[in-house]
Amino acid sequence: MGYDPENPMKDRITDIGPPHYERFFPQVIKDNYGKWLYHEIVRPGVLKHVSESGAECYTVRVASARLISIEHIREMCDIADKHCDGILRFTTRNNAEFMVDDEAKVQPLLDDLASRGNKFPVGGTGASVSNMVHTQGWVHCHTPATDASGVVKAVMDEIFDYFVEMKLPAKCKMALACCINMCGAVHASDIAILGIHRKPPMVDNEAITGVCEIPLAISACPLGAIKPAKVTLENGDEIKSVKVNAERCMFCGNCYTMCPAMPLADPEGDGCAILVGGKVSASRTGATFSKLVIPFLPNNPPRWPEVVQAVKKILEAWAKNARKYERIGEWAERIGWERFYEKCDIPFSDKSIDDYRLAYDTWRTTTQFKFTSHIK
């Protein structure tokens, strides 16, 4: 019967949750749930899982842009209907996975994918760059300091070979968040691109009364840089507003989240920082945060050449110098961050020295260091 606007509560259904996952398992998954014995990477982007029962599941992993249309999803469905008994899945890193239960079905699937232009690149397994997780950027977000989809496209175009081949020392997980809210968390990634602002918020006194709860704006600031202020508008009205102590501002944008009358985005002020060396898995060393090694690169659409080159330089310096199984952070720890800066040809500045909370943890408190070119 469909929705009846006259009776919005009629037959209303709520709190039913998602469909049960078991409904969507391929037969080979259903039959071998919890019985998997080992896996192999047959070739880049193709996994083979073998069960105690002897059954095999071949998985072909393809990248997606994450920002995808329903026409694109329908095309994925066509592929899954043709090759995979009508089932597919998505990974946490925005890849799609097509599964078949027989080795003979793999090549026809790969051929089909390859015949569809650049839509379904196969890769992202083992010692490769995996698909970049990212946020919305200018396609949908109200607080970004850079775009997301476009930057990712530009970076992945440039380092594409590292996605479709497995020739790195270890896996490399990359991520982009278009502002420091990090709705896609990038703080534990091998290489992270992070949108940052560099101009303090303006105060729109004409609008603030209508759109903003003043106390919320004031309490949003982690550094107490926002204070209440009485302001006289052009029409002579005196209103309650706020003023910003710009010297205290750390450009987090938390005030804008709570108060739309305090915009801080700016074409020249905004850009990207590069952070490296984080990881989440506990493999060998525990989870670590990414470190800010390049404090700012400009937004230069449509292809962000400065950002792309910086990422490529770091990736290739690591690829050339690291030992087998060393993630970027493990490599940098071993050779020392002063050597990392040299190897990656990145200038060091005081912007990479922490002066926020808990900063002391990162200051060097030993005479053990290397005489790199930084010491004149």
Binding site: N181, C183, G210, C212, E213, P215, L216, T257, M258
Partner: protein, 79 residues
């Protein structure tokens, strides 16, 4: 002794309608009855929304409550 759920709802609505702050965090309602557990207060506040007397306001990351008509919103400005 803790208020009954109906008494609690009345106290919450009173605060949302006539308090100095038009938009409130859930925690702001805890003072409506110090003897009620936060979960009971949450339940009462959310029931007020289901009854159409209050609305949710969300920044996307944070959610607040307001009496119907008191929340700041783009749509209510005719966008």
């Amino acid at each position: 002794m803790a208020l009954s759920i109906e008494e609690l709802k009345a106290a919450i609505l009173e605060k949302a309608l006539n308090g100095p702050k038009p938009q409130l965090y859930l925690k702001d309602f805890y003072a409506c009855d110090p003897d009620s557990k936060p979960r009971v207060i949450k339940k009462a506040a959310n029931e007020m929304v289901t009854e159409g007397k209050m609305v949710f306001w969300s920044s996307g990351s944070t959610t607040m409550y307001a009496a119907k008509g008191r929340a700041k919103d783009e749509e209510s400005r005719g966008t």
